[in-house]
Symmetry: C2
Subunit: 559 residues, 2 copies
């Protein structure tokens, strides 16, 4: 799609403008090795797990916020769009693609300093290139009494990038945006800003207190194109005398509403303080294996009989959930008792396990010799999933959790994937839809009754995670996995995705985030909220240089 | 200071402009009984607990957000400032005073609908006139399984007004701004906006999820003059099987650093989920009685001997703290054990009491007959304070907690106050300084060593509450109480206040909020944060109509 090194400006000129002066200027300011126009590298960043990506015009690698500021100014002066990526692992939500063709991708992966970790107050100051694996390793190797919230996005996912899109992890700090402070932001005009208390010289509580004095501006710079976050303070999770994970299984699909009702009071009062994640059968199975050979080549979906067999093989039912408990042994015992009492009352809940590290290691030692026995596969698989869940909950991100993206990836036929592989290297196709749902049976049931038939109509496997991300809301992250080498299936996936989004917006199930490549699906209508967002954008970035259209539907619609 | 009904425009014209056309226009739109230019009423709103208030030009009483919008537009067209107040109980932080003379006070106390309470998801949708007493009564009389976070500001304080200034209460939802969603805001140009998910038609999670989709704008409208909040969703605190309050006493001032070190891990891991408030001796004493006759008329401060006697009389030491525990009896036992273990290790901590409602009522029944016995006064006083603390923690606001403001109020000599009285009716003088402090010994000790000598130098009683408002920060709310009838003492209070603010900003102890009448004390300097705030203001309110200067130090400084 792209000519060699040429740039499509963010204005809609028919012929690409001559970008050599911009390239020259960027090389002068950043150094020649920090500007890349290599077609192979550009094509790499054009790849997507979605239907169609965008192709960048250039890639730049800033070292500091001042570099970022310089890029913003030069891009503005040369009328070229800029799109920031932290580590480029935004799979399923637009990957490392810019919002339009021809932009400069501001690749901040080399700004990867863990600037400071405070072992008393429990925070880490990190740059956009810091990955969750890197921070977990740092905390462990320095034997610090803290862990970091981990998400299922793998070891190489950026923390700042995830916060900028308001992602969620698994720990008590799972609502990540609620657990950061003191953002350093580069505005579209190149000015550098510190939010919260960070802009007051010597402010002692800058890393400890989110809101600051005066308007709280942090929210302006998440899910937006109003600034580039180049540093932030990430609050850590204290290690306690004991840590326990709990897991539960439910047999039947229709049990879920009652499970939500049982968990809500515990979540709201703080007995449960972590984000609870509940996976359906196929979400668990796709996370553990590749798609089996299709029986019906016209369908991307497994048959009910296949699903039943896979459930049996993996030792699961319709749903499996996980969460964690912190504190003294007595506190954990009391909380575990409350969780068990609540869940065991729910019809269909067959298993509730609360397990600490010692117990898990004991079980693993017991199961190890059984691995070769075929008839023990279900038990072994269960224990392996226990470990994965346990690690995530205790702040150890794992690449094993990425396997989900490989389900139906055509590239896996040529070469079986190993943990940590980039789904894009396997031409994996998947799209995520992640609406917010009030935490109660009625809304969850309504949501599932709405979404499941759409997956069936378009013949895709229905994979979903219900995440109790806050005390009152859960998020239903559904995945459409498709075979990119199959044009008809890809077209069907696209249509399924559009229908899902349209239906969910119309029924009031609003996504908590959107893919970079689907912003036009946000119904802006006559919405005074997005009017204001667009106005702020026009004021702060009159040339529309930074990620045009990103969460600014009035601008996307105009294209 | 004010001529009859005349207005000082927000522009600095020497002669007040003729405001009759504005009054006429407001009466036409709102109705004649909703616009007040009565000099007595205007003078009432000019009263302040601070050094000098501002006098309004008019008062208007909107009924709806559309009324608010109409006022904003008329005021803009007539170039007159507008300052919103919810219930006008912002004592110590600017009271009901506008930011400058001659403004329209937008009194929203009559917009007092509890629009909706959801008994499953635990939220209340409230207008600015809803008081914390009103909401507590509503929840109780409807026998709902929730309580509302209560602050010490008394039954008649507005919830929305407190959220708009990012105040704190005592429960697990003590960080109030963190526990609201879906603001309805009137912009300075009269447009009406819903934040979070509230602007999407039929969004089901609008009341349950704070951040929304796209930039999160809520923060823009707190501690700011960028919009008027006319409605919001306030999350409630679930009642649990059991509720217990805990209280502790410490003998010596120097114990505080170790107490903070002991509490921090419990606060950070979530064993303690409420805002813990720790009062020093004089803060407790001023909350319980009026100032005794002064021994030294040159000093507003008690002597060490007097303080010792009062401590003995009230049965307290240097510090007293409170917090609450929620959950099942087993959870509360486990948490209580953790709290006791942590605090009893601290040298100087003499008492740690964990008490539930049944136990408290038993003690009260036991103490009741002792009330008349003089030698039991200390015991009785302790139990009364237990009840006050217990009620606040369990969501029952009380007017008893307002007595603190009456310490040294000259009006109390003429007429002893009763709970619920307005401190302004007694010409009470007090100024609050409320800096944020990292939650660790070193910073707390540094802070106290800085502040206490300033109180001593200016001969004022050192009253302070240390509030562990979040997991990592505490807030040191110090009060300067002064006798407004004594000109020299008033001047000293003013100087003490200015020196405190200057010193604290210089030493990095930044206040979490400021008085409406002291915005010029914020050092804006070359701060790009306040540059942006000022820019946003100029864009959203080019006529500087809404609360000019409010958390916009670049605008205050320009005056």
């Amino acid at each position: 799609m792209m000519l060699d090194g040429a740039l499509n400006g963010c204005d809609s000129a028919m012929t690409p403008p001559d970008t050599r002066p911009l390239q020259q200027a960027l090389r002068t300011v950043l150094g020649p090795d920090r500007v890349c126009a290599d077609p192979t590298a550009l094509a790499r960043l054009a790849r997507t797990t979605a239907i169609e990506g965008t192709t960048p015009g250039l890639i730049v690698y800033p070292r500091t916020c001042h570099d970022v500021a310089a890029v913003m100014k030069l891009a503005r002066d040369h009328r070229c769009g800029v799109h920031p990526v932290s580590c480029g692992r935004n799979w399923g939500y637009g990957d490392a693609c810019g919002t339009r063709d021809g932009q400069i991708i501001l690749d901040m992966s080399r700004m990867n300093a863990i600037v400071e970790v405070d072992a008393e107050l429990g925070y880490a100051v990190v740059e956009p290139g810091v990955t969750q694996g890197q921070l977990a390793d740092y905390l462990k190797s320095n034997n610090l009494p803290f862990t970091a919230d981990a998400s299922g996005a793998g070891r190489d996912a950026s923390i700042v990038g995830n916060v900028a899109e308001r992602g969620f992890g698994h720990s008590q700090n799972g609502d990540r945006f609620a657990n950061v402070a003191n953002l350093e932001v580069v505005l579209p005009n190149g000015r550098i800003l510190n939010t919260g208390l960070g802009h007051f010289p010597g402010a002692r509580a800058a890393h400890c207190y989110k809101w600051g004095l005066g308007p709280s501006l942090d929210g302006l710079f998440t899910q937006s194109n109003l600034g580039v976050i180049t540093r932030l303070t990430f609050w850590l999770v204290p290690k306690t005398e004991q840590f326990a994970a709990f897991f539960f299984l439910a047999d039947r699909e229709e049990n879920i509403g009652d499970i939500i009702e049982a968990l809500r009071p515990l979540r709201m009062r703080g007995t449960l303080r972590t984000a609870i994640h509940i996976f359906n059968d196929l979400r668990l199975i796709t996370g553990a294996q590749l798609a089996p050979a299709r029986v019906d080549p016209e369908s991307a979906a497994l048959s009910p009989a296949e699903i039943t067999a896979l459930r049996r093989q993996h030792g699961i039912g319709a749903w499996a959930g996980s969460g964690a408990l912190y504190g003294s042994p007595a506190e954990i015992r009391a909380a575990a008792q409350a969780v068990k009492r609540a869940l065991r009352r729910v019809r269909g809940v067959s298993t509730v396990v609360v397990i600490n590290r010692t117990q898990l290691e004991f079980i693993e030692a017991f199961v190890k010799p059984l691995k070769k026995l075929h008839w023990c596969a279900s038990l072994v698989a269960r224990v392996e999933k226990l470990r994965l869940g346990f690690d995530l909950l205790s702040g150890i991100p794992s690449n094993d959790s990425l396997t989900g993206g490989m389900w139906r990836a055509p590239g896996t036929i040529e070469r079986p994937p190993t943990p940590g592989d980039d789904p894009l290297d396997y031409r994996a196709g998947f799209l995520w839809v992640s609406p917010l749902i009030p935490m109660r049976k009625h809304d969850v049931d309504t949501f599932l009754a709405l979404v499941k038939p759409i997956f069936a109509r378009y013949r895709f496997d229905f994979q979903i995670t219900l995440s109790l991300v806050t005390a009152r809301a859960l998020c239903g992250v559904s995945t459409i996995s498709f075979d990119r080498d199959n044009a008809a299936e890809t077209a069907r996936a696209h249509e399924c995705y559009q229908v899902l989004l349209t239906t969910l917006f119309a029924q009031g199930f609003i996504p908590y985030r959107m893919s970079n490549l689907s912003m036009a699906a946000i119904p802006a209508g006559t919405d005074s909220f997005f009017d204001l967002v667009h106005e702020l954008k026009q004021h702060l970035d009159p040339t529309n240089t930074l990620s045009p259209g990103h969460y600014d539907p009035l601008s996307s619609a105009a294209l």
